[in-house]
């Protein structure tokens, strides 16, 4: 075979690049293509029935959403009825019977607006619930974890004795598996005997203090966010540390000469110098938050009352536990779209920073 001048022999190139490229193609790109195709079928993992083309059925089932308002119940005189909890409304079953277009829909989210109730009804309310939970989790964990990481990096960046030891301690949770971290924290978060409530009771002096962290829908996601921040902050700390060390010390010296105090140096030298690092850390933490699965699977199984069900948890439940690959793939594809949007956001933010 003739080799083109200036190029390496194709056999040698394919010998080096081939194995990894075949593996990438087979286990990353092909699954993505299969997922896109599976969303249009009713494919099941093990099924006696042949796979059928179903068009956009999976997408409709996943995304169908109707916003409807429900009027409160009125008594014979036309007055609205009230009980201890406020206005009384008809049950969802009654609403659905009155309006045939709502057949198959269940409420995903509801709130009260004046004297009526607004209901977001979906054919898969759990998907919207899990989408809201996933974003809520990202919103909780993002400031917690990134703020903590920046604080740790600033501390570890000081020239004090033992900083390597502290860096090691802060980073140790990162190498601990998420399963182990979740199990240990289930124990620490135990309502009656866990260390965290024990400390809360000691600090407040109230023997009844301390919520049922994983058993109340209002606290479970927060508890998981705190635990995840503890587990992951060490990673972002190291990334911030690399960013801090790349800021030239001359900038700090110049700022000091101009009379800037420590806070002013932080605002005018450190933060602008960390701009790209901050964007990277925020985006990578967000992607990690969107992938939330293990903590939920080990600590709460999606409960209580679906308050910790996430998009990935929902996808695994549909695609794996219920073996509905078509539907699970549809959730996956929608999730992938969200991930792409987030990483696109990073590109835009970074490009903006480069232009400034």
């Amino acid at each position: 075979m003739k080799t083109i001048l200036g190029r390496d022999h194709p056999l040698a190139v394919s010998g080096f690049a081939g194995p990894a490229l075949i593996l990438f193609g087979l286990f990353v790109l092909l699954p993505l293509l299969l997922a896109a195709a599976a969303t249009f079928t009713n494919h099941r993992l093990v099924s006696p029935e042949p796979t059928r083309y179903v068009g956009f059925d999976n997408y409709t089932r996943l995304l169908a959403l109707q916003v409807t308002t429900v009027a409160p119940l009125r008594d014979a005189t036309g007055e609205v009825q009230r009980d201890d909890e406020g206005l009384r409304y008809p049950t969802w079953r009654q609403v659905r019977q009155a309006r045939p277009e709502l057949a198959g829909y269940r409420p995903a989210w509801q709130f009260e607006l004046g004297e009526r109730r607004v209901v977001l009804a979906a054919t898969d309310p759990l998907f919207y619930r899990s989408l809201i939970n996933t974003f809520l989790f990202a919103l909780l964990v993002l400031p917690l974890q990134c703020g903590l990481a920046l604080g740790l990096a600033l501390l570890v960046n000081q020239r004090v004795a033992g900083r390597i030891l502290f860096r090691t301690v802060y980073f140790a949770p990162v190498v601990t598996s998420m399963v182990v971290a979740s199990i240990v924290w289930s124990f620490l978060l135990n309502t009656d005997r866990g260390l965290i409530n024990e400390l809360l009771r000691a600090v407040t002096g109230n023997p009844d203090a301390g919520p049922d962290w994983l058993g109340e829908s209002s606290h479970a996601l927060l508890a998981i966010a705190i635990m995840s921040a503890w587990q992951g902050a060490g990673f972002q700390m190291l990334v911030f540390l690399a960013g801090l060390q790349s800021i030239s010390s001359e900038l700090y010296e110049a700022a000091t000469l101009m009379g800037a105090n420590a806070w002013q140096r932080f605002i005018h030298v450190t933060l602008p110098g960390l701009r790209n690092t901050i964007v990277f850390v925020l985006v990578s933490t967000m992607l990690m938050a969107f992938g939330l699965f293990t903590q939920v699977d080990v600590m709460t199984s999606g409960g209580p009352l679906d308050s910790t069900t996430t998009v990935v948890y929902h996808a695994v439940r549909s695609g794996f536990r219920q073996q509905d690959i078509g539907y699970g793939s549809t959730i996956t594809v929608v999730f992938f779209g969200i991930v792409l949007l987030v990483s696109l956001l990073q590109r835009v933010l970074l490009a903006k920073g480069a232009r400034q």
Binding site: F27, S177, V179, V184, F187, L195, V239, F280, T294, F335
Partner: protein, 294 residues
């Protein structure tokens, strides 16, 4: 006041903050290790006191003896060790070879392949998990039955289903690519003068000079492989091919002895913690490097 003393005084609040955070970060793991040596009744006694973290006469290895006797932990440890070792060795080989072809060889489409590899770094495994599940259900695997080569459909309940999909790793390719790019080209020239082809160049010159990046890739691959959870719970049903993370999750669900659960957690955590402590410097460098890619 002399300067060093003033310096120390200014640093005091900083040191206090570091210590306070150090306690917060270390407590859960210290608690895990301490509880693993205790009898269940003793675990909850004066939990908030520092004395519960100091060994006393009540500490014993009974929990460890119990979990090795009563569960299949040794088998799960062996499975995880095999999986992690093969992922590390195979992963280093295929990823560094692709990186070599991207940084040291000239061929058409090189730029496009590099761009795809960089793009793949942002795809979380969770996105691929479900479609990959349906793919491996349909892949054949060779076997020998009565002296004949046979093909078994599906990769479920095996070790290879936990190894092969994780060999190629975009982040590792990128790590190697960055490192190889910075090796001076004079090294290649000298080897080529001596008549070395690309294989000799790679295995005799480039790889032996890549110690730090090999260590980094090994750590990244090892930790990812050892801590796998989502994938094995989907593809492994029986105990024969089960690795440690689903193993401890199952033990957590079944056992009501907190001492034994913590002993199990300690055994699962120690290998990774040890690898981290030994290779700490490379580890820090690898994570710091991941920030530059943004």
């Amino acid at each position: 006041m002399t300067r060093p003393i003033r310096h120390t005084l200014l640093r005091l609040p900083m040191l206090l903050a570091m210590c306070a955070l150090g306690v917060v970060f270390a407590t859960p793991l210290l608690f895990m290790f301490a509880a693993s040596f205790k009898h269940d009744d003793a675990i909850f006694a004066n939990l908030a006191s520092w004395t519960s973290y100091v060994p006393d006469a009540g500490w014993s290895l009974a929990n460890y003896a119990a979990i090795f006797e009563r569960s299949n932990l040794p088998l799960f440890l062996l499975n995880s060790t095999i999986i992690a070792a093969l992922v590390v060795v195979g992963g280093i080989l295929v990823n560094s070879m692709l990186a070599f072809s991207l940084s040291r060889m000239r061929w058409r489409g090189r730029g496009a392949v590099l761009a795809v590899v960089v793009a793949m770094m942002v795809i979380p495994f969770e996105v691929i998990a479900i479609p990959l599940l349906s793919l491996v259900a349909r892949l054949p695997w060779p076997g020998v039955e009565a002296g004949m080569l046979t093909w078994r459909m599906g990769w479920f309940n095996s070790l290879h289903v936990q190894i092969i999909p994780f060999l190629a790793n975009a982040f590792c390719v990128f790590l190697f690519y960055q490192f190889f790019r910075d090796i001076p080209p004079e090294l290649d020239e000298a080897a080529k003068m001596d008549g070395a082809g690309p294989w000799a160049l790679f295995f005799r010159i480039i790889l032996p000079n890549s110690g730090p990046v090999i260590a980094t890739a090994a750590i990244v691959l090892f930790i990812a492989a050892w801590n796998q959870y989502l994938w094995p719970i989907m593809v492994v049903q029986g105990e024969a091919a089960r690795p440690v993370q689903p193993g401890i999750q199952q033990f957590f669900g079944r056992s009501n002895s907190w001492g034994q659960i913590m002993a199990y957690a300690s055994v699962v955590t120690l290998p990774v913690l040890a690898v981290f402590l030994v290779f700490q410097r490379q580890f820090v460098a690898s994570v710091a490097g991941s920030g530059i890619k943004g």
